[in-house]
Point group: C2
Chain length 165, copies 2
């Protein structure tokens, strides 16, 4: 039941025989279908950990930016501050990160990844890398680099906005 890589007889989806119509013309459609699959794979690979959505990227940002405030984190991951509160609660409950009151501005919570948070993050990054490899092995190193560059150029159109993970 393998579909041959190459020219398709028509713009359909090999197995199901469903035609895509004009949808097939759009880059956003291609981006989404791959990205959906990647996140499903990642979710499946980390299912037993009960990761609430946004926790992984939030922890990653905290680890990369020790002392970041919840507000800054919210903007960085593109989530509402109220959601960030829940996520940080979760992170603290799992001892993956901790809040410290900022000495200079006592309104702010400075966030830090704990040691186990760092270790946990490394594991998650490893599974993510494995997940991506399943798709990326289709490309050569040079093609991968090129893809990265093209995507970055596209994203530069959005220079001014937040990151929106």
């Amino acid at each position: 039941m393998k579909r041959v890589a190459g020219k398709k007889p028509d713009q359909d989806n090999g197995e199901s025989g469903v035609r895509l119509g004009r949808l097939d013309e759009f880059i956003g459609f291609r981006l989404r279908r791959i990205q959906n699959q990647l996140s499903r794979d990642f979710a499946a690979a980390t299912a037993e950990r009960n990761l609430r959505s946004g926790l992984f990227s939030s922890l990653a940002i905290v680890a990369a930016n020790p002392g970041i405030s919840q507000n800054e984190l919210s903007r960085a991951v593109g989530l509402d501050k109220s959601i960030t509160v829940q996520i940080v609660d979760d992170l603290e409950g799992r001892d993956l990160a901790r809040r410290e009151r900022s000495p200079t501005d006592r309104r702010r919570h400075a966030l830090f990844a704990t040691e186990s948070g760092q270790a946990y993050l490394d594991e998650l990054f490893d599974t993510l890398a494995k997940t991506e490899d399943a798709v990326l092995h289709q490309l050569t190193k040079a093609e991968l680099a090129l893809l990265r560059e093209l995507l970055d150029r596209m994203y530069e159109a959005y220079d001014e906005q937040g990151i929106t993970l």
Copy 2:
């Protein structure tokens, strides 16, 4: 998987100064950030139409596959059958599509796009094209074609699954 220092002096996000850390290594991250922006832009451009999520792609699939069943549609767009019921209700309520009982199998609902559904779809495709152009104008035609091809090659790793719009 070695991380190669990119062109940027540091892996941060220009405006906000937030570092991405290892997140920056992953393709899925780049895909998602662009795709998120694209869908936000599209949502903003179609805000007044009150499009529920999944409606657009469902209508597109129905139009490209006259007589498709709700079950097939569900698998095609990667949504649960119960959600598809609601979407088709919505489509019918707006007179964009209609259900017909299949004469050969009276359990099935054969779905068809109405004329106004087709017209509506054309409009939506136009706005989507405009939305994408805002990002895609960063690339030459050749680069765009290359991007398309790379993405397709990546997706072929998922030959057997549904489309998951």
